[in-house]
């Protein structure tokens, strides 16, 4: 690559990064603006203030935001865990076993994944109210599984396919049962895949708004994205923009931390050295 070409790549890269980061920078900047400062026509706040953060963490919006944060964490972690475990078994079966209807399962999973959420929210709302799942944690975990499971199965089965089958056969010859071979050899090798899947599943659940707003009514189970929509200003003539921006910054933090923590784990190919090299 010539120097000229390199420069273009670097310039292009910087442009794309700026383009992607600008909305986030905008939100961060907004979260430090006082309500009167919101429409100051400038990018930076004229006098940075923690006012918005105090509002949502200790102030008037805190009884809306804090329970929602707890709900979001709880519901998303449980949904992620369940979907990881279920998809691990499902993906293993899909990658390893030959059974009739294998393609059907995969395409059905894909079908579920692309099915528009909004079209099933209303029937689900009625059903949940009748069977008592409305406004409960399980009432959100179950629909979240329908969002996270298909994509988890797809990613996980891609990872399982990468693991050399000989590993498992070697374990069986060494005296392992199918379950032992799975637990002691396949699962450790699939760990990077499990992490990747977990993170993707967590994001999907974390970012959901449609289910969150429709299937909850109180702080018993309302997740953060839905709570954000319910923020109100100090008076009806005042926008809660600043508080929403502050809450958005706070809910972005765990996502960023997760990625930073696990990115090495995701990238590292554990199967390195398993076979000839």
């Amino acid at each position: 690559m010539s120097t000229r070409e390199k420069t273009w790549w670097i310039v292009g890269g910087i442009l794309i990064i700026l383009y992607c980061l600008f909305p986030i920078a905008w939100i961060v900047s907004l979260s430090f603006k006082a309500p009167s400062d919101i429409s100051n026509g400038q990018f930076l706040p004229s006098g940075p203030t923690w006012e918005n953060y105090t509002t949502i963490l200790t102030g008037s919006a805190s009884d809306l935001f804090l329970p929602a944060l707890r709900n979001s964490f709880g519901i998303c972690l449980i949904a992620t865990a369940i979907s990881c475990i279920l998809s691990m078994f499902a993906a293993y079966a899909i990658a390893r076993l030959d059974f009739p209807g294998k393609r059907l399962i995969l395409s059905a999973a894909l079908g579920v994944a692309i099915f528009p959420v909004i079209s099933i929210v209303t029937p689900l709302f009625n059903l949940w109210r009748q069977i008592g799942l409305y406004d409960t944690w399980p009432g959100l975990i179950i629909p979240y599984l329908s969002l996270t499971l298909p994509i988890s199965i797809w990613t996980m089965s891609a990872f399982f396919r990468e693991i050399p089958w000989e590993m498992e056969q070697a374990a069986q010859v060494d005296g392992a049962t199918n379950w032992q071979a799975f637990r002691k050899v396949i699962v450790p090798l699939a760990a990077p895949g499990v992490f990747t899947t977990a993170i993707i599943a967590f994001f999907i659940a974390w970012n959901d708004f449609a289910y969150g707003i429709s299937l909850t009514s109180t702080s018993a189970s309302r997740p953060v994205p839905a709570a954000l929509g319910l923020f109100s200003g100090a008076s009806q003539f005042e926008d809660p923009t600043g508080a929403i921006a502050a809450a958005a910054v706070i809910v972005t933090i765990p996502v960023v931390v997760l990625v930073l923590l696990f990115q090495r784990r995701i990238v590292a190919g554990l199967t390195n050295g398993a076979v000839k090299g």
Partner: protein, 425 residues
């Protein structure tokens, strides 16, 4: 330790293609059996059926007197070395070798003792705490062997274990495997497509072609008394030369002049128009370098040399010849089947390294006619095979084996075995 018997084993895949077809084979206790053949001959499938990774369509697989057709791999107590080693990348070398013992719930101190013992045999002591990713190819290979020898398996199975190593290392590991097998005296089945491995390692070699056994015999018998064209062409490097021939009186007329046959062979080839004469490269010699005493035992002919290859200790000359179309097609088909592509009909001739025969010149060659075989070009059958002589060679080889195993075991070097059995008793 156990014998392995196969009775009419068939493996049919979903599309009805028989990968292994009616194979019956007895492998004696402590014997080193090689399964060899070109790619797609079913040798790996057969091995995987022995270990239980592949279902058996029909037939009986008997290990140590027990029918194991329906048993899972773990119930058969065999150990296997895979072509790509299949080491567990997330475990240290120690844990890799210890894995079978851990599964068998062997107590910790016993595990440590036996892994150390195996590591000593394979010189892996200083690598025990490393991960497979940090080992060289040869070391990984040894770890895979360690995992195989660490427990008292009924038999060892090797699936082309050396094919991922470079040539030098392959030679070293080959002798290592041979020594180890003698030391442990354990039944071994070894799949390879490399005929050097087949010839040097095996007590007996089983040559497979398209899922069928062609011949099971000691390497010497295979080399000197092959049953058919396929075995004759497969065993030996460079391969046996096949020349078209017609019978005239008591002589075979070939492109390289007449070859005289003795009475036994003459009787065997009577009544056929076209024949193929199989002559190993080393049956030829530069006529000027042949002893006068040997000279009358063969025939002399003149031919133009196309190419010569001088290798220091030996020398090969390539001599093109004309052959009728029918024979050419037959030979092409054969060489394709043997994974090589013979483009022209030429004979490879091994001559003394000191020979001054030059490329592009005509030269005089001597051909030892005592050991030539004559094949039927249609069926490929060896018409002049001396079954008795062959059986004698294999008998000698098996006596050698028994002697070697006894000697090795008398030196008391079986790994873990003694102590383990004492512990069990």
């Amino acid at each position: 330790m156990a014998s392995i018997e196969m009775h009419n084993i068939v493996k049919q895949y979903g599309d009805g293609y028989p990968a292994v077809n009616d194979v019956s084979l007895d492998i004696a206790d402590g014997e080193f059996m090689i399964l060899v053949g070109p790619s797609g001959c079913g040798k790996s499938t057969l091995l995987r059926m022995i270990v239980g990774l592949e279902d058996i369509t029909s037939g009986d697989m008997i290990i140590g007197g027990k029918r194991v057709n329906e048993m899972a791999p773990r119930e058969r107590n065999l150990s296997m070395v895979f072509q790509n080693y299949a080491l567990y990348p997330h475990m240290t070398v120690f844990e890799n070798i210890a894995f079978p013992l851990r599964l068998a719930k062997v107590p910790d101190d016993e595990v440590r003792r036996r892994v150390d013992e195996a590591a000593d045999v394979l010189e892996l002591r200083e690598h025990l705490e490393r991960k497979p990713a940090n080992l060289s190819g040869g070391q990984r290979q040894r770890v895979a062997m360690g995992r195989a020898i660490v427990r008292q398996a009924e038999a060892f199975l090797f699936d082309e274990p050396l094919s991922n190593l470079d040539a030098k290392l392959r030679g070293q590991m080959r002798t290592e495997i041979s020594r180890l097998q003698r030391r442990l005296g354990i039944t071994t089945v070894y799949v390879t497509h490399d005929q050097t491995e087949a010839m040097t390692l095996g007590d007996r070699v089983c040559v497979l072609r398209k899922g069928r056994i062609q011949q099971v015999a000691s390497p010497r018998e295979l080399y000197e008394q092959p049953v058919n064209l396929f075995v004759a062409g497969f065993i030996g490097s460079p391969p046996m030369n096949f020349l078209p021939a017609t019978l005239e009186g008591d002589q075979l007329r070939t492109p390289f002049g007449p070859i005289r046959l003795d009475e036994r062979r003459l009787a065997a080839v009577q009544g056929r128009d076209l024949l193929l004469v199989g002559i190993r490269p080393e049956y030829f010699e530069d006529a000027s370098l042949v002893d006068d005493a040997k000279r009358p035992l063969g025939t002399l002919f003149r031919a133009r040399v196309d190419v010569t290859e001088w290798l220091g200790d030996s020398q090969y000359a390539y001599i093109p010849y004309e052959a009728p179309e029918a024979v050419t097609d037959q030979l092409r088909a054969l060489s394709r089947e043997l994974d090589s592509e013979e483009l022209r009909t030429q004979a490879v001739v091994s001559i003394d390294a000191a020979s001054r025969i030059r490329e592009g010149r005509e030269a005089e060659f001597w051909l030892d006619s005592r050991k030539v075989h004559v094949f039927d070009p249609q069926s490929g059958e060896n018409l002049t095979r001396d079954a008795e002589a062959g059986a004698r060679l294999t008998q000698l080889a098996s006596e050698d084996r028994v002697e070697q195993v006894q000697e090795a075991q008398a030196r008391g070097t079986t790994i873990g075995g003694g102590a383990h059995r004492a512990g069990a008793a």
